[in-house]
Structure formats: C-alpha cells, structure tokens
Amino acid sequence: MEKLKRFSLPGFILVMAVLPHLLDSSWQEVAITFLVFSVVALSQDIILGKSGMFHMGQGLFFGMGAYATAILNNEFGWPILATIPVAILVPALIGILLAGPIVHLRGDYLLVVTIGFNIVFVQVLQNNLGGVTGGPNGIFGLDSLSLLGVELMSQLSVYYFAFAVLLLTFWVMRNLEGSKAGRALHYLREDQLAAESIGINTRVYKIFAFGLGAGLAGLAGTVFAVQYSAVSPEAFDFIQSVLFFSIVIVGGSSIPGVLLGVFVMFVVPEIFREFATWRYFIFGLAMIAAMILRPRGIVPATFGKIPKFLIKGGGHGA
C-alpha cells in the first residue's frame, strides 16, 4: 500500500503525459477540462481544505483570470502568454483585498459572503461594467497560443499547456506542505486559538491562503479561456463554485481525492451522456452518500509528513 502511494503520483503524471496521443479530439477536450478543473479544485483546496475557511466562491477567481486574459488579448491585443502574469496577479490581489475584511467571520457567514462575491462578480460581467466584459455573451475569438512567434494552433498544445499548469500546481502545493506558511494554514484550521497562542498571526496566513488560491485559479482561468478561445459569465457561476467546494470536501482535501472528485464530477458525465438529465440528481445522492459513509472524504488528507530522522523505531509510527 505504501509503495502504491509512493508511485501513484509519478504514475499519474506519466499517464497524463502520454494520454492525449491515445484520445480522439473530443476526448482530448474532456481531458483538458479535467486538467483545468483539477487546478481550480486544488486551488480551492488551499483555502477550504487546508485552511478550513468556508469559501464557496472560487468561480470568482477562476473567472477573473479567464476574463483578464480575454480582455487583454481581445481589447488590447496582448499575446496570450503575456497575459498570464496579469491573470495570476489580478485575482490574487483581489482575493487579498476581499479577504482582508472578511476572514475573521465565522464559518457559515464567510460562506455566504463568498457566495455573494461570486454572484456580484457574475452580475458585473453580465451587466458589462465598463464595457469590456461583453455582457451576457462574453468575449469570443481569442488568439491561439503562440510561443516565440510560432502559433500553436492544435488542441494538443492546449493540452500540454494545461498539463504544465497542473504540474506547476502540484509543485506549489508540495512546496506549501513543506513550509512554515503551509503548516500555519493547517494549524489555524485545526485550532485557531491554539495557533494564535503559539505565535501565529492567523489573519495574515488566512489572507495568504486566499491570495495563493486565487492566483492559481486565475492561472487556470487563462487556460480555460485559451481552450474555448472564449469566455462567458455562466462558466463562472456560483453553481460552479458549489461544485468545486463539494469536490474538495467529498475528495477529502488530498490531491488524489480532489482529482478523483474532478474526474467523477466532470469526466464521468461525458461517458454516460445518455443520462445527462439525471446528472445532478445522481451527484446529489452521491454527495449525501459519500458524506454519510466517509465524513472525512473519500481519500482523507493525511499528516505526519515529517523528516525521516525524527522517526525512531517503536510501533507507534502513523
């Protein structure tokens, strides 16, 4: 079992690296969606799962990144890759600004306020504030990716772009786990008062989690905009945020759990297309069943990632 665990992530990466060559173009599209939504769900996990903040508005940051890319490309003619820093930084800064006044709110209040941010954002997009969001139809006709002057038109290149972003997300999350900041998030989730009493400025780290989660979601937004070469408000509706929220909790706030959640929520329905109208009914039942049977999620996050030299004999190891 331990061995399986150790090889599962490299194995997954290897499979995903060769996968598009085994798929036809419509399934490639599904695979890209899987990659993009995995990044969004993992970014949601930083705020919701790791830090324990009831945040149900990840669609806001995802959409903000997508729109940043779309507007800069469409209105101002920036190349797609040049929009990436903006698509990361704008959601991250907005996330930090929005989080500032609300992170002290208790669980459910935070949840409703973040839903609110998401809904206001979609309303802003629909009402075409500032005349740059394209209203209810959104923005379409974005350029394709280009690198060093070479246009990468193919779907394959979009796939590898999305894949690279997922790998980057894995890397950031691994770095987070092995750092002071990442542990601080876990501490404050488990017991905020104890965390403060041991010297952690919980407010700063909560805001940090929002900034980081928002930035990653924004980057996923860029990929999303490239994939469809269009953006429109309903893709970032708060119903989407509800799905990301549920994926993290049902998955158990671990990388395999979250990926499994994304797979079930977005890939499985493509396999059972004839049951499309039953999709959310069945998801609803599955969510209830999953929570009753595994209240901590399908693959619960595990702790105890400590340096080897600290583990000394005895049968007490985790």
Partner: protein, 259 residues
C-alpha cells in the same frame, strides 16, 4: 535594566456584571517557579488569558520586561517570549506530535510567506534547523517514539507532554502552565515535577496554576492565592500553608473539579 519579570498591576477583567479578576497585582521574578492557586471559579485561568492576550483586561497594567503588553494580540505576546499551555489541552489533533511541536518553531523560523510557494536554499536550511529543534524537544520530553503519531489518538498524559513540548519549542522566557497536572496519575505527576525543575534550570521562568496542593507546595518558589478574582494571600509555600485566610477559603469550597 530589562529584567525578565512580569508585573501585573491592578488588573481587572469583567464579564458583564461579573468581575472575574478584581484589581489583581503580582510580580513574577526572573527564574522563579511562581504559582497561582485558588478555589474553583476564582479567576485563575482568566488571569492567564489576560496575560497572554486572549482577553484584554479593562483596567490595570500587564508589564513584561519593562514593556506594556496589555492589549497586544496573543502572537505578539508569544513573540516577546511568553508561551502558555491550556487547561483543556488544545493540540492540533489530526497532526503528528512532531508537527505539533514544529508549530512552536513558527515564530522563530525565518521563512517568509513566499517560501510557501517557492523554496530557496535558505528556506530549506531553515526548515531543517527547526526540525532539529523539534528533535531536541522530542528528546527532552521523551516523546521520540510518538513523533509520527497523530496527537488526537494519544493518552492524556502524553498529550500534556506534547503541549508542553510545543510551548518549549518557542524557546520561551516565561512559560505559563494552566493546570499541568490535571488528569495525570501520581507517577506522571512526579515526572512532570522533574520536568518543571529542568525547565527552570534552563533559565525559563515558570508561572503555573494548579489544583494539586501537594504538587504546588513542592514545586513553587512563590505563590499567590486568589479567591473571587482578588488576591487573598501571597508568599512562599511555607507562609501560605500557615495563612488563615487561605485555609478558610479552601475549607469553604472543598470540591476539586475543574473550573
């Protein structure tokens, strides 16, 4: 001269109409093991909460090494070398013993927020140094065999030790223990006594609340007795044992439950 001393002057904390701490003054000197005792509901834990920034007292002054710390947040107070444990044990229960102790290194770690995204050689070195410090605490508190165990599943006595180890990982100047012997058996209490002396020998001042009278008399250098939030006596254990007001307060309320 900044001596390691804590001076409370006329500290008053009210909850609605109830005065939990009433014009309390006390002075903890450097290197002391100082005890606060008193019957149930006397306001002992509230005093600790006022010192550690969980509550802000309405009146009075909390002075630490010449600096007013009343009104500071808990993490600012930790930064000044004051760390506490809780009567009810508040560990990060899903996380391992080593990770719990590592939380005490948070304030000493030199990593910046952005090291949570990108590591540098400096941040890796810092990470390793702090895990080494965790190892020291694991050894000191004889917790090595439990390093990777989730704390929530450990026996009560070990959880108490983990909480103390976590506090000691901060390298505190003043360690505040809220009923460290509560729930321990005689043997564990004995080990605790030894540990407290060893901590003092490291140059750490210890301030503790305790119900176990035998233990208090044995371990402390100096005592304050409070009842209904007010100081009714202070002195060395020998003086306190003879104090009539103290004897009366204790005979008045014999029960030995938690506050």
């Amino acid at each position: 001269m900044a001596r390691n001393e804590l001076i409370l002057t006329d500290v008053t904390k009210r909850f609605g109409g109830l005065t939990a701490v009433d014009a309390l003054s006390l002075k903890v000197e450097s290197g002391q093991i100082y005890g606060i005792i008193g019957p149930n509901g006397a306001g002992k834990t509230t005093v600790f909460n006022c010192i550690t920034g969980i509550y802000k007292s309405e009146e009075g002054s909390v002075n630490w090494r010449g600096e007013e710390i009343r009104g500071m947040t808990p993490y600012q107070i930790v930064d000044r070398g004051i760390v506490r444990t809780f009567q009810t044990i508040r560990l990060f229960s899903q996380m391992s013993v080593a990770e719990n102790i590592m939380s005490g290194r948070h304030i000493k770690s030199r990593q910046s927020w952005w090291h949570g995204i990108i590591h540098t050689p400096g941040s890796r070195r810092d990470e390793l140094e702090n895990w080494k410090k965790v190892e020291e605490q694991l050894d000191f508190f004889r917790l090595g065999e439990y390093a990777a165990s989730p704390t929530g599943s450990l026996p009560y006595g070990i959880q108490r030790r983990v909480e103390m180890a976590r506090a000691m990982a901060v390298d505190p100047t003043l360690l505040i223990l809220d009923e460290p012997a509560a729930g321990l058996n005689d043997k564990e209490t004995l080990v605790l006594l030894e540990t407290i002396f060893k901590i003092r020998d490291k140059g750490v001042t210890v301030l503790l609340i305790e119900h176990d009278m035998d233990m208090v008399m044995e371990v402390t250098d100096y005592l304050t007795v409070i009842n209904f939030g007010k100081q009714i006596a202070e002195g060395t254990p020998e003086q306190i044992q003879k104090d009539s007001a103290v004897i009366e307060a204790y005979l008045g309320s014999e029960d030995d439950d938690d506050e």
